[in-house]
């Protein structure tokens, strides 16, 4: 059992948990604890240090969209995107609910809505009260400050005016033809300018201080405000649900459309001779509407997790393209020196081309093939991203496959020769199995490259996915969206890590050292 678990961990590439298992079985506790310290505690500590450093530095990096989001903000934005996600799905489900299910849900939602509205009222009242007291407190300070600034402004203005007058007078009396007085005059004018500049900066500082005091809130106030915002959103959401469950529901849409249809039918039956054609048109239109409302689904905006999923889908489509191209060509190259020699210039030529170059070209070409993007079963933007991923990620697989096939053990080829295996048997029974570990190494690198390329491709082609999400957030430019961008960094990282892990498992399974037997 113990060895089985250890073996499984090994195959899954999670050797770091091996000491934990061994410790559970009481094997050399001291050594295991040391290993746990090394392989688990140390990385966790470093990660914690990283988070700490980030939290410490974040407030000092000021941008137009507020300061750099702290880890807490990013975690909060994860909660936000998750909330958005499940709310949209709840709405979508509500739209399609029928019968008893719909009634019970509606009752529940109405109840929740009432609760939320109540709580909101309480919070609003508290907020109003707090604002009143705070205002009374700050009003006095603010007033004093404002007056002080006003006075200061007047003083500066007066002194500036005075200096100017003085300088004008001096200038009138100046003997311009003489060097020394002229230089002196220039110097004093310059002095006047610097002085004025200094004064106006001082005023600006005072004013921004004032603004800060106006904006400054107590933590309690901020918390209340946040709570109020949340409740606002919640009531809005529940309101929407309620409407989707009652008159906004698909059934009700269908019912009202059916009613219209019935009326149109009646109108047609009663139509006077001159109006029959138009009445029939109305009837047909109503019929059409019944059909379309019966087939309608809630138009849900893509949520963050939808985007993650789309991205993963896209990278796999691209990866499949890449695999389908790279492995056969790689095998051919590995088998035949002539093919290898003739293809290697092409390979070396295209290998270093960046996705940024491929994307527009692919986009145009794909656009040429798909004439009506709205009706096509696959979105051109999606397809171009996938193809770009394929173009950039097929090289590691190709090169590794060729290497794997070319470096096949001579003894194994001798087996094929002695048995006079057919080309097909030779390929499927000898060549490919023996090249498989290297092929999978290539595939793993390819998938990693593909994932990196994909985010860039999506960002450029604005095909739905994480890249587009980041781009949208960038264009939004609020501090909320900023922390969602940082969240994306982590999500991209985690997904990439998982993809890599999956490939490691496959790689271990096809290697000959017995990985597969553990399962």
């Amino acid at each position: 059992m113990k060895y089985k678990i250890i073996r499984l961990l090994d195959v899954a590439g999670m050797n770091c948990f091996e000491p934990v298992v061994r410790l559970c079985y009481g094997e050399e506790p001291r050594q295991q604890v040391r290993k746990i310290g090394l392989f688990i505690v140390a990385p966790v500590v470093v990660f914690a240090l990283f988070i700490g450093a980030w939290a410490a530095i974040a407030p000092f990096i000021k941008t137009k969209a507020g300061s750099l989001p702290s880890p807490v903000d990013v975690a909060g934005s994860l909660v936000d995107v998750y909330e958005f996600h499940w709310r949209e799905y709840a709405k979508k489900a509500d739209f399609a609910r029928t019968g008893d299910d719909r009634d019970t849900t509606l009752a529940l939602v109405t109840q929740q809505l009432a609760d939320a509205t109540e709580r909101k009222a309480v919070v609003e009242a508290e907020l109003a009260e707090l604002t009143a007291t705070l205002d009374a407190e700050t009003a006095a300070t603010l007033k004093k400050y404002e007056e002080a600034i006003e006075n200061q402004t007047l003083v500066y203005h007066a002194s500036q005016f005075e200096r100017e007058q003085e300088l004008h007078k001096l200038g009138d009396k100046l003997e311009v033809s003489q060097d020394e007085p002229r230089e002196q005059y220039v110097a004093s004018v310059r002095e006047h300018q610097t002085l004025s500049a200094r004064e106006s900066t001082h005023l600006k500082e005072l004013r921004s201080d004032l603004a800060a005091i106006r904006k400054s809130t107590t933590p309690q106030f901020a918390a209340l405000l946040r709570e109020k915002n949340d409740l606002d959103q919640e009531t809005q959401f529940l309101d929407k649900r309620a409407s989707l469950l009652s008159d906004g529901n698909r059934r009700s849409n269908v019912a009202s459309a059916a009613l219209t249809l019935k009326n149109a039918d009646a109108a047609l039956a009663a139509a006077a001779p001159g109006q029959r054609y138009d009445a029939t048109l109305d009837y047909l239109g109503a019929e059409e509407r019944v059909l379309s409302s019966a087939g309608a689904i809630y138009a849900k905006p893509p949520t963050f997790f939808d985007q993650v999923f789309t991205s993963i889908e896209c990278v796999f489509v691209g990866f499949l393209f890449a695999t389908a191209i790279a492995i056969p060509i790689g095998v051919l190259c590995g088998l035949n020196k002539v093919i290898m020699a003739s293809l290697s210039p092409l390979i070396s030529l295209f290998k270093p081309v960046s996705p940024i170059v491929w994307l527009p070209i692919v986009f145009i070409v794909v656009g040429g093939f798909i004439e009506r993007p709205d009706e096509a079963w696959v979105k051109p933007a999606f397809l171009s991203s996938a193809i770009t991923v394929a173009l950039c990620s097929l090289w590691p697989t190709l090169v590794n496959t060729a290497l794997g096939v070319a470096s096949i053990d001579k003894d194994h080829l001798n087996v094929a020769r002695v048995l006079r295996l057919s080309m097909w048997d030779r390929l499927t029974k000898i060549v490919i199995p023996s090249a498989l570990p290297l092929i999978f190494t290539g595939l793993r690198i390819s998938l990693g490259v593909g994932w990196m390329v994909l985010i860039a491709a999506e960002l450029l082609s604005s095909s739905p996915g994480l890249g587009k999400f980041v781009w949208d957030m960038f264009n939004n430019g609020s501090s909320d969206t900023f922390s969602q961008m940082l969240l994306t960094v982590f999500v991209v990282g985690v997904v990439g890590l998982l993809l890599d892990r999956i490939m490691i498992v496959f790689q271990r399974l096809v290697s000959f050292d017995g990985g597969a037997t553990a399962l």
Partner: protein, 298 residues
């Protein structure tokens, strides 16, 4: 098949091999190698390491191109490798992604393509059983010890029902106990199946115990047959009987002295090329004589 065919089942006629050396000119490793084998006979090829034994064997197998001369097996000239000449090398070279039985099965499927699945499976099982692996058929090579892997290799070769079995130091990497076991395994199978066998070895005792005739090769370059010895032991053999036979030490002495003689020649200061050539000519005569002697005896 005529008795002539039986008597001259395998013919190696003036077999030569020249390898290109790194500078481009060709080095003749084996030169004018003549040997005739009867059907069902076990001939052991013995000689110093590097003298060209493997070269001869791989040429017979068809895995190595023949520079000059020819190999004829049961009336047909050998041009390429084929399942009628099964080979077992020093390293088992099993396919690591297949189980023991799958490794055997690969060849059996080729050779007995006309048989049913069940029959083919039975053939594989029979031979794996014969080499003592009845319990480990579904294991992967990595789960088997070196000796067991070599057993699979032997089963794989014999299951092809080859006309000729080529063994290139098949026990070279095994410990002496396993080696003796495997020698007996092979002898038992050979006694039953009567496969014409060429056994390359540099172990004198192994050669005496297993072979009907021992063909001693001179040390290369331009190696050839130096001397051929007939083994006077009956088949099936028993190790103790062979070891206790009064002739055993004479034969062994003869072999060892031949090998030592070759060794001395090798370490002698290199003669001028011209003389080397005449030297080779002399030993060619010797080998021809030995050949003729063998024939006369047969």
């Amino acid at each position: 098949m005529s008795t002539g065919g039986e008597q001259r089942y395998v013919e190696l006629f003036r077999l030569s091999k020249a390898y290109p050396n790194p500078y481009g000119d060709r080095v003749t490793v084996v030169d004018g190698f003549n040997l005739i084998m009867k059907r069902g006979e076990v001939v052991s090829l013995i000689g110093h390491s590097g003298c060209g034994k493997s070269t001869v064997l791989t040429m017979v197998a068809g895995l190595n191109s023949i520079s000059e001369g020819s190999v004829v097996l049961s009336g047909k000239e050998v041009t390429s490798a084929g399942p009628d000449r099964a080979v077992v090398f020093q390293s088992p070279c099993l396919l690591p992604w297949m189980t023991a039985i799958q490794n055997v099965r690969l060849g059996v499927d080729r050779v007995f393509a006309h048989g049913t699945r069940q029959q083919r499976k039975e053939i594989c099982e029979y031979y794996l059983d014969a080499v003592g692996l009845a319990d480990s058929m579904d294991k992967y090579p990595r789960e088997l010890s070196g000796g067991m892997q070599q057993r699979v290799g032997i089963a794989r070769a014999i299951a092809l029902k080859p006309k000729m079995l080529l063994l290139d130091e098949p026990f070279g990497r095994l410990d002496s106990l396993t080696r003796m076991e495997l020698q007996d395994v092979i002898l038992k199978i050979l006694d039953r199946e009567k496969i014409t066998t060429m056994l390359v070895t540099h172990d004198v005792d192994e050669a005496i115990y297993m072979a009907d005739r021992i063909c001693m090769m001179t040390t290369g370059p331009m190696a050839r047959v130096g001397q051929i010895l007939d083994m006077p032991f009956e088949r099936p053999r028993r190790r103790e009987e062979v070891l206790e036979d009064p002739l055993y030490y004479d034969l062994r002495g003869c072999l060892v002295s031949f090998l030592e003689e070759q060794d001395r020649r090798k370490h002698r200061p290199a003669p001028v090329p011209k003389i080397a050539e005449s030297d080779a000519a002399k030993s060619a005569d010797a080998s021809d004589q030995a050949d003729a002697l063998a024939h006369a005896e047969a």
